[in-house]
């Protein structure tokens, strides 16, 4: 059963606070989502996101402040712009731009955060693993098969 | 050769006599089919004093203007070759002109030309070595100074009547009469304007032209043309840069029973009004892909028979 590994970049002021609140409210969301706190969603760059997918993670979402509420004025807008560029990039390299999303929220929206985490997990489950993972698994399988043929294996005593 | 005449072309003779001239337009075929020229000449002969042959108009490749003109001369009509600066540099333009003149062509219309992005070969390089005003000057210097553009003397200058286009309706509107003055200073003999549908605006333009005394220095032929349908009128209103089609024309077409017939009537009405404008020496009828309309328009406007040169 495929269990997605999802990174959630949450901005300190809103996204992370909302996630925190969800925890405090005991609103459940799947353990598939790993939270990474950033000072502002605008801090994230194209290459940050690409590297996450390069490492084999299945999905990424960004939790930023609502429009007009960014502590750094336009960080959330920059993040939104960056997401639309990176989606195209992910399509070009055949990972798929739908594995990346951005959501705006206020720090009080704990339930909303949990809903997003649940929905994202469901979505990625349906999309399946990051294709890089599948290639790597295939490589490992092939490696194991070759080693077996050569008579190399873990001996059990 | 009459010392005052530059080319002794029919067009020049009629204009210098003060006749109200009629020129028409002929689009050459998109292939090596001389019958198209023959058929179009059959339609137009006797209904205009000279006929323009377009030069790869809207950057769509067609039989060359000069080649078509030679045939037209053979068929007994007088051509006005058009030359655009988009496709040829000054070497080719001068060369083509002396060739055409040597073969009997006596009228040339100098244009800058539509950009190649409009046509069927948008990936081609363009030339624009010179613009239309520099082209007029270049041809005038060949004819009157007996010099090539580089300054070298030429022994047998071309005897041609030089024309250019004017667009009274394009932006910047205020600048257009100044641009006409530039063409006059460059040595142009006659002007054919863009299609006139907005008579009021055209009258405004001619007023300025007269104030600058330009109507005494150059013969101005107003461009006219029948509109086939409401769709065509609307297209020209919105999509053709430098074209001014007032709503009342669209309305007339909408209300009519037969748009084609009404299109011709509108053209006739416009010509009647244009005849009254001081400084206008004739009309240039552009019946795009509808050369059959020309005889009807000329007849209905009472411009038949055409005077002998």
């Amino acid at each position: 059963m495929f269990e997605p590994e999802i990174i959630a970049f949450c901005c300190e002021y809103c996204g992370y606070s909302a996630a925190d609140l969800a925890g405090a409210m005991r609103v459940e969301y799947p353990p598939n989502v790993v939270i990474v706190r950033v000072p502002c969603a605008g801090y994230l760059t194209h290459v940050h996101i690409l590297r996450v997918f390069e490492e084999g993670y299945d999905g990424v979402f960004i939790a930023s402040c609502l429009e007009g509420s960014c502590q750094y004025r336009t960080g959330n807008e920059r993040a939104e712009k960056m997401v639309s560029t990176v989606k195209k990039s992910l399509d070009e390299v055949r990972i798929g731009g739908e594995r990346l999303e951005i959501y705006k929220m206020a720090s009080s929206m704990g339930k909303y955060f949990a809903d997003i985490a649940i929905n994202m997990t469901e979505k990625i489950k349906k999309l399946g693993p990051n294709p890089i993972k599948l290639i790597e698994e295939r490589f490992e399988e092939e490696e194991r098969r070759q080693l077996k043929e050569m008579g190399v294996g873990i001996s059990t005593t | 050769m009459n010392k005052e005449m530059k080319s002794e072309s029919n067009l020049e003779k009629l204009l210098s006599r003060g006749e109200f001239v009629v020129t028409a337009e002929l689009g050459p075929p998109k292939g090596a089919n001389i019958n198209t020229i023959i058929n179009k000449v059959k339609i137009l002969k006797g209904f205009c004093d000279a006929v323009n042959i377009t030069d790869n108009q809207t950057s769509i490749v067609r039989m060359s203007s000069i080649a078509s003109a030679i045939k037209i001369i053979q068929l007994g009509m007088e051509p006005i070759i058009q030359m655009v600066t988009r496709d040829r540099n000054r070497i080719a333009l001068q060369s083509d002109l002396i060739g055409a003149a040597a073969l009997g062509v006596k009228n040339v219309l100098c244009l800058t030309g539509d950009h190649q992005s409009f046509g069927n070969h948008p990936s081609s390089k363009n030339v624009f070595d010179v613009d239309s005003i520099q082209l007029v000057k270049m041809f005038k210097d060949m004819r009157d100074e007996h010099k090539f553009q580089c300054g070298e003397e030429m022994k047998h200058p071309p005897e041609i009547f030089i024309g250019a286009a004017a667009n009274p309706f394009a932006d910047p509107f205020d600048f257009r009469p100044i641009r006409l003055a530039k063409k006059v200073n460059a040595g142009v003999d006659f002007i054919q304007t863009q299609l006139v549908y907005n008579i009021e605006k055209f009258k405004e333009y001619m007023k300025k032209v007269r104030e600058m005394g330009l109507h005494k220095k150059v013969y101005i032929l107003a461009g006219v043309g029948p509109i086939k349908s409401v769709g065509m009128a609307k297209y020209m209103q919105k999509n053709v840069a430098g074209m001014d089609v007032p709503d009342k024309i669209v309305e007339r077409l909408k209300k009519s029973k037969d748009a084609k017939e009404e299109g011709i009537n509108i053209c006739v009405d416009i010509i009647q009004e244009i005849k009254e404008i001081e400084g206008v020496s004739g009309v240039h009828i552009m019946a795009i892909a509808w050369e059959e309309a020309v005889p009807i328009i000329v007849e209905k406007t009472g411009l038949l028979p055409r005077p002998k040169p």
Binding site: I95, F139 | F128, K137, G242
Partner: protein, 222 residues
């Protein structure tokens, strides 16, 4: 500044087909400002190539490096050791940079990743308008500081043509009619009379039409 845009990803991927060791070199001047070939963009391309190659079942070893300017010998000569192991060097510089690299390292495969576009002005972020085509004989003083050769689609010196509408060029509504700009500017400056004189045909021999140009500044020669 010179502006360029990155080639489509698939085209770049095709360029490095079958190659294992790739070094991507960025340029720290024009294309950095233009945000197409600087350090950031090198990192993005490197990551994209690694991902795409992995998905194809190939592996690649991608090195990243950005130098101050790829069009200057002193910066390019410094990196000879760094590109030694590369099967192919992807340059993220403009055409000048790529050719400089290719000239200094004739035994290495140096391939471009950008399409060089023009000498342009960044009107606003991400928006680069072509301003100069290097005709070799600047006449901007006669046109109110607006170049008709570059900014008029037909390079008219006695414009406008009949296709100017609402200040836009007939070729593309996003192109401003240079002649509308020139007339407006000279009117404002009270110098519209300049346009009543006929500008003669241009001598194009000083431009690229006269052949690829070598510029020599004697005072700078050592």
């Amino acid at each position: 500044m010179i502006v360029a845009e990155r080639k489509p990803f698939d085209e770049i991927k095709e360029i490095i087909k079958d190659k294992k060791n790739i070094t991507i070199i960025g340029c720290g001047t024009c294309v950095t400002i233009n945000q197409t070939g600087g350090e950031k963009e090198v990192a993005i391309l490197a990551s994209e190539l690694r991902i795409a190659k992995k998905l194809d079942g190939d592996s690649v070893n991608v090195k990243q490096l950005t130098i101050q300017r790829q069009c200057e010998r002193e910066f390019v000569e410094e990196i000879s050791q760094k590109i030694e192991q590369a099967d192919v060097v992807l340059s993220m510089a403009c055409g000048v940079g790529v050719q400089t690299m290719a000239g200094i390292y004739p035994d290495k495969l140096i391939f471009p990743t950008l399409n060089t576009i023009s000498m342009a002005f960044p009107d606003k972020p991400g928006f680069f308008k072509e301003m100069c085509i290097g005709c070799g004989n600047c006449v901007l003083c006669e046109y109110g500081g607006i170049c008709p050769i570059t900014r008029c689609s037909k390079s008219m010196l006695n414009g406008p043509c009949g296709g100017s509408r609402d200040g836009k060029c007939e070729v593309d509504p996003d192109i401003e009619c240079a002649w509308q700009l020139i007339v407006d500017k000279l009117k404002k400056q009270g110098r519209l009379d300049i346009l009543t004189k006929i500008k003669p045909a241009k001598d194009w021999s000083s431009s690229h039409h006269g052949g690829p140009r070598t510029l020599i500044i004697e005072e700078a020669e050592i």
